[in-house]
């Protein structure tokens, strides 16, 4: 495991408890125990936990104080004159930001300072609404979220905050849905690119996996719903976009891991891509309906994602990834899903039965691939999630089509038995490997 994963407080606390026992049972010498204690800074645990406790207490106290002040102001808001209201709003905004910065960068109280600046951005959003209210200004309902997003984005970059970055995703996405639904489909197409350009570099710089994955998710969801803003509302183009974007994000995750580019981003990104692909495959596995108009506005985003996916595929092939079988499987699945959705959406008279069968083959293949990851790489979560996904597909088919109760009950029973048998078999396999691994280490130690 990477060192940072070993440094989590729970592991270190457990290690601190176990070390004396291991020394007593002569599994370790005192010297080895001392070296381990120094390596994992076990003596710092008490200090860190009291610092953490202080940070939590400060945060809760600040929130309660802030809540009290806000409630008091709100109760008397109607009786306060407009100039005084404006002074209160600007004082709160500037006060939170300046105090947060001071605590963060001068006193070194990182968590509290960061929390206060984040609160400042929340207050900024509230101020947008309150100032509009004071001057009786009403634009389109989503405009306020747009202003909130821009102000928060600027501050996120200024203080390098992943948390404010998440706020930007939330507020800008709300703006995007309102703006796009308000007959601005063409301009709304720019949003996924703008979101990626403004936040992916920030996530990269601050090494935040959460912000990176959340931004990619925001881009995928936004790109997928753009076709619904069109007057033609082609749902099958949406499915094709989900498939293409899911594959691209999965490939991106593999590239992170294979080429050692921010390797820590690899797993979460691949996992996100597979989840999106699985979601798209699941939706597609239900019987296709062709879009009645089979017309669309030009699908810029779908074209971009297909191009990016092809580029990602080429990079992975050239990098000689060890997991060739997975690369072939996942790209095949994505291609089948994308093609089926496009055919259903654009053909004047598509064979929807054939397309549905193809989508189900793709979905089951994807489930098998995820289970395969679990078995070959001994990743429990992948095995179980893959198994549950396959079971979900089977059960959905039985519930979707008109079958007898007896057949449905047989399906449920068989699926239940399969899950138990497969799970027990897998856990035994893992345990056997662990035991073999320990035996080999002991033999190597004895030699």
């Amino acid at each position: 495991m990477a060192q940072n994963q070993n440094m989590n407080a729970g592991f270190r606390a457990g290690l601190k408890n176990e070390l004396p026992l291991w020394v007593q049972e002569e599994l370790l010498t005192e010297e080895t125990a001392k070296k381990l204690s120094e390596k994992y800074q076990l003596d710092e645990l008490k200090v860190e936990s009291s610092r953490l406790l202080s940070a939590v207490i400060f945060t809760i106290g600040s929130i309660l104080l802030g809540g009290g002040v806000i409630s008091f102001v709100a109760a008397n808001w109607e009786y306060i004159s407009s100039p005084v209201k404006l002074v209160i709003l600007f004082t709160a905004l500037i006060g939170l930001h300046v105090t947060g910065y001071f605590l963060w960068h001068i006193k070194g109280w990182t968590r509290l300072g960061h929390a206060l600046i984040f609160c400042g951005c929340l207050v900024f959003g509230a101020n947008v609404g309150l100032i509009a209210q004071i001057f009786h200004i009403r634009g389109d309902w989503y405009s306020g979220f747009g202003a909130w997003a821009i102000g928060s984005l600027v501050m996120a970059w200024a203080v390098r905050s992943w948390l404010i970055g998440l706020l930007v995703i939330f507020t800008s996405f709300i703006w995007f849905t309102g703006f796009g639904a308000d007959y601005h489909e063409r301009l709304a197409t720019i949003y996924p690119f703008a979101l990626a350009a403004s936040l992916l570099p920030l996530a990269w710089i601050v090494r935040s996996r959460v912000l990176y994955a959340a931004t990619l998710l925001g881009v995928i969801v936004a790109a997928s719903i753009v076709p619904l803003f069109s007057s033609y509302q082609n749902g099958n183009v949406m499915l094709a976009t989900i498939a293409a974007s899911g594959f691209f994000v999965w490939a991106l995750g593999e590239i992170h891991g294979t080429l050692n580019l921010r390797e820590e981003f690899g797993n979460i990104t691949s996992g996100l891509g597979l989840s999106v692909l699985a979601f798209g495959a699941y939706i597609s596995s239900f019987h296709y309906n062709s879009d009645s108009s089979n017309k669309i506005t030009f699908p810029w985003l779908l074209i971009v994602f297909i191009a990016l996916s092809i580029a990602g595929l080429i990079i992975l092939i050239k990098s000689e990834s060890r997991r060739t079988w997975l690369l072939v499987g996942i790209s095949g699945v994505a291609a089948l899903l994308c093609a089926s959705a496009l055919l259903a959406g654009l053909s004047s008279n598509p064979n929807t039965d054939a397309l549905t069968i193809i989508s189900n083959i793709a979905a089951f293949t994807l489930g098998a691939a995820i289970i395969g990851i679990g078995i070959t790489e001994e990743r429990r979560a992948a095995f179980w999630l893959g198994s549950l996904y396959v079971i979900l597909l089977i059960l959905s088919r039985f519930l979707e089509y008109d079958t007898s109760l007896l057949l449905k009950s047989a399906a449920f029973l068989i699926c239940g038995v399969l899950v138990i048998v497969a799970g027990v078999g897998y856990e035994r396999h893992l345990r056997k490997k662990t035991v073999l691994g320990v035996s080999r280490e002991k033999e190597a130690g004895a030699l």
Partner: protein, 176 residues
């Protein structure tokens, strides 16, 4: 990044946030400070806005195109200017709708900038925010005295308008 650079970047971000907040009402504040006072009779409608609290939506006599004797052929969301004239009784009546603002107007006339939307002329002064505690009072007052409700607005030299207060008979509702 050096400490000074980091501080400079932070201050710049804060200034941008303040500038956004100042920019939102800037035009309205300028209009309120420099504009001419006008009273318009209203016809209220009442929805609920979840983002900005409670508000009343107004419609005016000058919102209806048919009330203007002379109306050009306006496109959707095209900007236009309503020319209003003050009557002897102090009320403002519609005279004409123009595509551009006249270079000069007599003292008893003003130009009010609007947009042709959804078959009506919209001036940006159709929404009046009312505090939650006063909502029921104002709503009942409006329902009982529909024909006696006016809004006082200010109109600047470019035709932009800003709401000042709502008047129903001798009762005044405004942000102080």
């Amino acid at each position: 990044m050096s400490k000074q650079m980091r501080l400079a970047v932070f201050v710049a971000a804060l200034v941008i946030q303040v500038a956004i907040l100042v920019g939102i009402p800037a035009r309205r504040a300028y209009t309120l400070a420099t504009g001419k006072s006008v009273s318009l009779k209203i016809r209220p409608v009442d929805p609920y806005d979840i983002l900005s609290g409670y508000f009343v939506t107004f419609s005016f006599d000058v919102s209806v195109r048919a009330n203007f004797p002379k109306v050009p052929d306006l496109g959707v969301e095209e900007t236009c200017y309503a020319i209003l004239e003050r009557d002897a009784d102090g009320s403002w009546k519609p005279v004409s709708l123009e595509r551009s603002i006249p270079a000069s107007l007599p003292e008893n006339r003003i130009a009010l900038k609007g947009q042709n939307r959804y078959g009506q002329i919209v001036y940006g002064i159709e929404n009046f925010y009312i505090p939650e505690t006063s909502r029921n009072t104002i709503q009942e007052d409006l329902n009982r005295n529909r024909d006696k409700a006016y809004v006082d607005i200010k109109v600047d030299s470019s035709g932009n308008a800003a709401l000042e207060r709502l008047r129903i008979e001798d009762r005044v509702y405004e942000n102080k």
